[in-house]
Assembly symmetry: C2
Homo-oligomer: 314 residues x 2
């Protein structure tokens, strides 16, 4: 009996290019350009956009205009404009800008968390407890990203149980929207599929999202594995920007363009208009001044038969 591939009918894309993408760019992008990028993502139909990050400008000068960007973007009803916060101090700033959700982040591996935010995982969680209290008062939902969830540059492979334990602590703080980040692009299909199943079994209340980096060209393959295990939320970045643009084989994010194209070809709805998204990529490329890694942007999205007279070489 033909079963068919068991996949979701709708997938929610959260585009993180204005934050995770631009923070990795060497060029400082102007506030005008950031606002236009977010507006173009909105116009293309992206349902959730990570607009900026309320980190100290000392650490990330690229995000120093967080308040201004949040004030100037055109908000479309129904679209969620999300912001990243590293700690309670950042959250305080963030709430002033009326985000639709705020996102906290913690590493699955102790060493990476310390290198990234200069505190232990427990110290990060203590901060989240404060933040969720503030969020309750402000009426803003909190989501969390567990970074290095599949592998850590310092500790290597991260055990599944370590990720589940950390996620359980997040649910204890009332955070049920959790994203797993493959920060250095080392996840594989089996690991992703099994992780997804383990969450469904032990933390069925969690709404899990996946955030794949593409250092080794594995991001789309990992997305297929996640989809087949029932995952219906992905974080991607326009053009595939992000990661470190200075390292060879640059490991950007899964490109929103590539993800949306492939989901559309699979018959999965995203509500995103691919051609308009590719227009936004064209704009992004002009802003950052170098080629983006997106494959569909380069090769063209739809198959357009050239007809019997077309020129074709195998």
């Amino acid at each position: 009996m033909i079963q068919g591939m068991r996949i979701p009918e709708y997938v929610q894309i959260k585009d993180v290019s204005p934050r995770d993408g631009l923070q990795a760019e060497p060029t400082i992008v102007s506030t005008d350009q950031k606002v236009e990028l977010v507006n173009r993502l909105t116009a293309a139909g992206v349902p959730v956009i990570e607009v900026t990050s309320f980190v100290s400008p000392k650490w990330l000068p690229q995000m120093a205009d967080a308040e201004e960007v949040m004030r100037r973007i055109e908000r479309k009803p129904g679209v969620r404009y999300s912001v990243l916060v590293p700690n309670p101090k950042g959250a305080e700033r963030a709430f002033q800008s009326q985000p639709d959700e705020i996102t906290v982040f913690v590493s699955a591996s102790e060493t990476h968390n310390y290198k990234n935010v200069h505190r232990s995982i427990s110290e990060s969680l203590a901060g989240f407890a404060e933040i969720t209290e503030m969020a309750k008062d402000a009426g803003v939902p909190v989501t969390a990203v567990i970074v290095t969830a599949f592998g850590c540059p310092y500790e290597g492979r991260v055990p599944q149980s370590q990720v589940l334990d950390l996620a359980a602590k997040l649910t204890g703080l009332g955070i049920l929207d959790i994203t797993l980040g493959d920060t250095i692009g080392v996840a594989n299909a089996v690991q992703v599929y099994d992780m997804m199943e383990a969450f469904q079994l032990s933390l069925p209340m969690v709404r899990l999202a996946m955030h794949f980096h593409d250092n080794r060209g594995t991001a789309l393959a990992n997305m297929v594995a996640a989809l087949m295990a029932g995952c219906d939320r992905f974080e991607t970045a326009l053009g595939g920007i992000g990661g470190s643009p200075f390292s060879p084989g640059a490991g950007g994010n899964l490109a929103s363009d590539d993800a949306v194209y492939y989901l559309q070809e699979m018959g999965i709805r995203t509500g995103i208009h691919l051609e308009q998204l590719l227009e936004a990529t064209r704009f992004l490329e002009s802003v950052i001044g170098h080629a983006v890694p997106s494959r569909v942007y380069r090769a063209g999205g739809r198959m357009t038969p050239v007809g019997p007279e077309g020129d074709w070489h195998e």
Copy 2:
């Protein structure tokens, strides 16, 4: 209950770089270099190698030394050295070189077949009937590739039934080893998975292999879908070469390096030694004189934790 991802324990990789790869290269590669490429693939543990093609040198000058390459390669017992033939004339030449198998090819779409080999699909099949007779006498197995099996540049999306009908005709000629080629890189996971299931249902005697091109970065994702539907044979090319090196966003083959790395990470055996394969890629790159698209070759295969003192930027 945790099911785990249902995948094969062993996957057979057929490296087609000496043929499908080199034929697309503008530089003429010397016979010595071709022989060394095949020998390096053998040394890395590749179980099946597509060594060359017995086409007219008029059409493909790059393959004019087919006989000499076949004579000079070092054959390792157990490894299958395969050759491509376009017609009975090519097959006659091929059998002289004692291949372990010969491969014929036909398009799923009439227009593409005509453009590619200047005959109709029925004329191609008539030629295969002659070839299988010759092969029986020579005691050499015949395999077939159905190209444009997922999409055709002239006719667009190719219906599944068209591929099944053509495959059924091939089985009628005694050809049970059949490869489906996504020649222009337009397949998606659902299409691949459903195709695989349809073959299992209507042509269960066929040993199906998949051959994905990577024009839109979808080849590895399509491999995951095929694996999950039970496919355990893939054709890949060292370094990801192949396709048209002249078009932007060059659509090469799925890189053997990337496929082997990812399968290995998933815990699937291939018998191939990744580090030796990457050495072969280094050699290949020096021969063709330009960067290969393989991602793992660029980024490094294994995750090597740098330890707590390492330098890391998110």
